[in-house]
């Protein structure tokens, strides 16, 4: 048997091909066998029949062999693919090693793009996507009080209304109430002020929280006469209470009362819509329910409910609204226009942050697109210098698909490496983001790099690899046939590639312009807020909170004595101009009370609500609020002297539009047995919060309404916070168990209040800056390439007498052309998309002309700068050399 001549090694075969091969193989067998049998003397037909008979099961064998062949082929392909992938990866590695500059810039660009995206996404994931840390988060609902007349829809509920809602509703398996709580922990060290909530026994049931240690409140534990208990949050347990599990069963002193610790909450837990609450004590509603004047008029409760399975938030809301409508009819004096608003817990917790987060996510996506465009541009340029290499590979038998795959492998390696660095950037960025957002982030503990974040980062990396790699790879492989024939100058594929790069740069500039407009609008909003007149001065002002705790401060006189002594001591300090106290400082909001005016008929339904603050004698002086008429409070206004009240200008205007409020008598609050109070003075309006407006407000003397605590305000001649040690010393001298908490300069308080706005602004500005730099690099790249490619043309022009001015102008004009096109597109896009920013803006329209003009100026200046270096290079072109080099 001679050695067969081999003429075909079959690399892979399609399935019909497999079948044909097998048929041919078996036909050969049968023919040979038949011939053999004929040679042994059989007739032709008998021989063929015998060959088939003795073979065995032909059909089964065919199926068996085909299955084996198909399997072989699959494996073969896989091994081929793996081998080629290895080859491509090795090749890519060598390529990057040869041009490290390119690799570093591309990696950095991608890392920033992917990092920015991943950081924002991990916040979005934590706040908007991840389950809240409750037993059945999708069934937890927040119930707010709402006023139909004023549009207020996130208010509190009165105890009487809550009890009616709880007993009549059928939508919830449980409805729980909570109120502000907290107090001063008096342990072995300095006293510590702790935020907290008072909760009824249902609250933790609704939240479905499994305690980390011990238990939560049992039914009945929220009624009076029971031994007082307390549940601690995880972090405060670690930070303040020593973090030992033996704490359960021990008693701790909170504001002078001893409470038995019954449990510690898990680390991921945060109290919804009151994330700062760290200690939880039972809420006893009986005293307020017993007080007819307060049970329906004192609105201080928040409510949460656990929906029955199958009941929607809307259905539950409709049911509760039906109940409040009935209450309106039953109790018009207290309940007219009062209703409730029900909101799913996720919306309740993150509703305010959602628009900002989504805008930022969009912005970071734009940055990533710009980054991809940059890398794509670089790859396109590189494809020029690699044309020879690709051509050689093509000549050696690599098909177009194979070349595209190899270049895509390079892109994906770049993207994945960039993504890995980006992930590191993102982890760091997320951390910084959460830290700088402080307690403004409603569920900061939810923001972690979980599997979703990691997978998204991976997906984003791969997607960007495809986005920036595909076009250059296709373009390069298309150019190969041409390249094989040419020596590598000014080919038509080079022209189309250049056009593609210009298009990329135009797109980049458009995206950058959009981001710049967004950032510009947010900056203008913030600057406007910082410049705006609040109605009082925040310069050189210190503020801190004093909360009196302990039985000895139960009487108003004791409180007066403490604060009078404190103000006297503080005013004696060097560098202090005036010291006052107020229930709340306007930057942090305030209380309200109903207003009745003596001699006027009781209006139908509810009385109007005005702002309400107890203040000390010198508060307006310390705050810098002007006294417009009458007098401020003084030592003559005592607990037992005739009650007096001061009004803000807007209150005077609103309720005495034609008359004089001075000397008028008003009653504040729901109790009709309270005495009338005489108006003695009118002060200027102050605006509430950092971005709120002023509201009609009534001020009463701190000596005539005792809150057990004050926000102290000190006007100083020096840097306000430098006085803090002295302040602490004076407070300690008066009573060492009283903590000084929330001590900041008034400017710092405003800064904190602006965090919600500043953080999106800063991130947007950072993204815009990044976009601008990337776009500038893109412009520079395309211009530098263009000058290099046109060296000969420029040489000819200079030889024919073109002035440097003309050459310079030619280059700059080309760059500015792209800039103008990109800018136009970007500004149009910004005008179209500006609406998404509306909720983040203050005092600026999304189509603010000044911002648009400014952005145009900045962008054109940057593009001009990016053109300068290539333009100067064009000037240096030596015509002789340029012509000779060809």
């Amino acid at each position: 048997m001679g050695r067969p001549r081999r003429y075909l090694r079959f690399p892979w075969r399609s399935s019909p091909r497999l079948r044909a091969d097998l048929d041919e193989e078996l036909r050969f067998y049968f023919d040979m066998r038949t011939r053999e049998l004929v040679e042994q003397g059989m007739s032709d037909a008998d021989a063929r029949r015998e060959a088939v008979r003795e073979f065995g099961d032909v059909e089964y064998t065919k199926r068996y062999c085909l299955a084996e062949d198909a399997m072989s082929r699959r494996e073969e392909r896989r091994t081929d693919y793996v081998a080629e992938l290895r080859q491509d990866m090795m090749h890519s590695w060598r390529t990057f090693r040869r041009s490290p500059g390119f690799a570093v810039i591309a990696l950095l660009t991608l890392a920033l793009g992917i990092g920015a995206n991943t950081a924002i996404f991990s916040v979005v994931n934590g706040l908007l996507l991840r389950d809240l840390p409750y037993g059945e988060p999708d069934r937890v609902v927040r119930v707010w009080g709402a006023h139909k007349d004023s549009g207020v829809d996130r208010s509190q509920i009165s105890a009487g209304d809550f009890i009616d809602l709880r007993t009549r509703q059928r939508s919830f398996t449980a409805l729980g109430a909570f109120a502000w709580g907290g107090g001063t922990y008096i342990g072995t060290g300095d006293p510590v002020r702790l935020s907290g909530a008072r909760v009824d026994a249902n609250v933790f049931r609704v939240l479905g929280v499994r305690p980390y240690l011990g238990r939560t409140f049992a039914a009945g534990e929220d009624s009076s006469g029971v031994n007082p208990t307390i549940v601690l949050g995880f972090s405060v347990w670690r930070r303040v209470f020593g973090g030992a599990s033996s704490i359960v069963g021990k008693t701790v002193n909170i504001s002078g009362r001893s409470n038995t610790v019954i449990g510690v909450l898990p680390p991921t837990f945060f109290f919804p819509t009151m994330a700062e609450a760290e200690i939880f004590t039972p809420l006893d509603l009986t005293p307020v329910l017993r007080d007819v004047n307060r049970s329906r008029k004192f609105h201080n409760l928040g409510a949460i409910g656990l929906l029955r399975p199958g009941v929607t938030v809307a259905q539950a809301g409709a049911e509760l609204k039906g109940i409040t409508a009935q209450l309106e009819r039953d109790f018009p004096q207290s309940n007219s226009n009062m209703t409730v608003a029900t909101v799913g817990m996720r919306d309740a917790v993150v509703g305010d942050t959602r628009p900002a987060l989504l805008v930022l996510l969009g912005a970071s996506l734009l940055v990533l697109l710009i980054a991809c465009a940059n890398v794509a541009g670089m790859l396109l340029s590189r494809a020029v210098s690699r044309r020879q290499e690709l051509a050689v590979r093509a000549a050696l038998g690599a098909g177009r698909a194979r070349l595209v795959r190899q270049m895509m492998t390079e892109s994906l390696i770049l993207a994945l490496a960039g993504g890995a660095i980006g992930l590191a950037v993102a982890l760091w960025g997320t951390h910084a983001l959460v830290a700088s957002a402080g307690d403004r982030l409603p569920a900061a503990s939810q923001v972690t790099a979980d599997a979703t974040v990691l997978l998204t980062a991976l997906a984003v990396s791969v997607a960007s690899g495809v986005v920036f790699g595909l076009v250059p790879a296709l373009a390069a492989s298309r150019g190969i046939q041409l390249a094989l024939k040419e020596s590598g100058r000014g080919t038509s594929s080079g022209v189309s590639r250049h056009r593609m790069r210009t298009a990329l740069v135009t797109g980049q500039l458009a995206l950058a312009a959009m981001l710049l407009v967004g950032a510009g609008l947010l900056v203008r909003s913030l600057v406007g807020l910082q410049k705006r007149d609040l109605g009082y001065s925040i310069e050189s002002t210190l503020t801190f909170e004093i909360l009196l705790a302990g039985d000895r401060y139960d009487s108003g006189a004791a409180q007066d004595q403490f604060f009078d002594a404190l103000y006297t001591r503080l005013e004696a300090l060097p560098g202090v101009v005036a010291v006052g106290g107020s229930g709340n400082i306007p930057l942090r909001g305030g209380a309200s009370a109903s207003l009745a005016i003596d001699g006027r008929p009781q209006p139908e339904g509810r009385l109007p609500e005005v702002g309400y603050q107890p203040v000390s004698d010198n508060l307006f002086k310390a705050m810098g609020v002007p006294l417009k008429r009458g007098r401020t409070f003084g030592p003559q206004d005592r607990q037992d002297s005739p009650p007096v009240v001061m009004l803000s200008e807007s209150a005077a205007r609103a309720y005495w539009p034609n008359g004089d409020p001075m000397g008028a008598r008003v009653r504040l609050g729901p109790n009709p047995n309270d005495p009338w109070m005489t108006v003695v003075g009118i002060v200027g309006d102050v605006r509430m919060g950092v971005d709120g407006e002023s509201r009609p407000t009534a001020y009463v003397s701190g000596r005539q309404d005792h809150w057990g605590g004050m926000a102290v305000v000190m006007r100083t001649t020096t840097e306000p916070t430098s006085l803090l040690p002295a302040v602490r010393r004076e407070v300690r001298a008066l009573d060492p168990t009283i903590p000084v908490s929330d001590a900041y300069s008034m400017k710092q308080v405003r800064t904190q209040g602006l965090t919600d706005r500043r953080l999106p602004m800063q991130l947007m500005a950072a993204f815009a800056l990044l976009a601008l730099v990337l776009a500038a690099v893109g412009v520079y790249g395309v211009m530098a390439y263009s000058v290099a490619a046109r060296t000969r043309e420029i040489g000819v022009r200079v030889a024919l007498g073109a002035q440097p001015r003309n050459v310079f102008g030619m280059v700059v004009r080309q760059g500015m052309g792209a800039a103008a096109a990109g800018l136009t597109l970007g500004l149009l896009g910004a005008a179209a998309l500006g609406r998404v920013l509306t909720s983040l803006l203050y005092g600026v329209k999304p189509t603010d002309v000044l911002t648009f003009v400014g952005v145009a100026g900045v962008l054109l200046a940057v593009v001009l700068a990016a053109c300068l270096v290539p333009a100067r290079r064009a000037l240096r072109v030596d015509p002789l050399e340029a012509l000779r080099s060809e």
Binding site: G2, P4, R6, Y7, E25, F28, E36, C65
Partner: protein, 110 residues
């Protein structure tokens, strides 16, 4: 659907094919004829089993297939032993030998 014939001698067929191809590359018909001649008709192996084994062994990469020209100038699929197949043959041959020796030790009186 025909039920597949249970081939108790699958391992045997495999090792015979490997041994046959160790001589030289052969097409399926050649292998069948060779085994028939070599065993002098004592072992009758259905060609069906033989072809199944060839494709199975190819999948295991113990043998490799190539199209070639036969003695009478027809296109035929030739099988040859791979390095893996050669190794496999050595191992299986050794196993068979010790198996056969053990059986003989029992059958033949000492």
């Amino acid at each position: 659907m025909t039920k597949p014939p249970i081939d108790l001698l699958q391992g045997t067929v495999d090792v015979l094919i490997l041994r046959t191809l160790a001589w030289e590359p052969m097409h399926g018909y050649g292998v069948a004829r060779f085994i028939r001649q070599r065993t002098e008709g004592v072992l009758t192996i259905e060609s069906a089993a033989l072809y199944q084994a060839l494709h199975r062994l190819e999948r295991k990469k113990w043998i490799r297939a190539e199209w070639g020209l036969s003695e009478n100038n027809r296109r035929a699929k030739y099988y040859s032993l791979t390095a893996d197949g050669r190794k496999q043959l050595r191992e299986e041959a050794a196993t068979w030998r010790s198996y056969a020796e053990a059986v003989f030790k029992v059958l033949e009186p000492v």
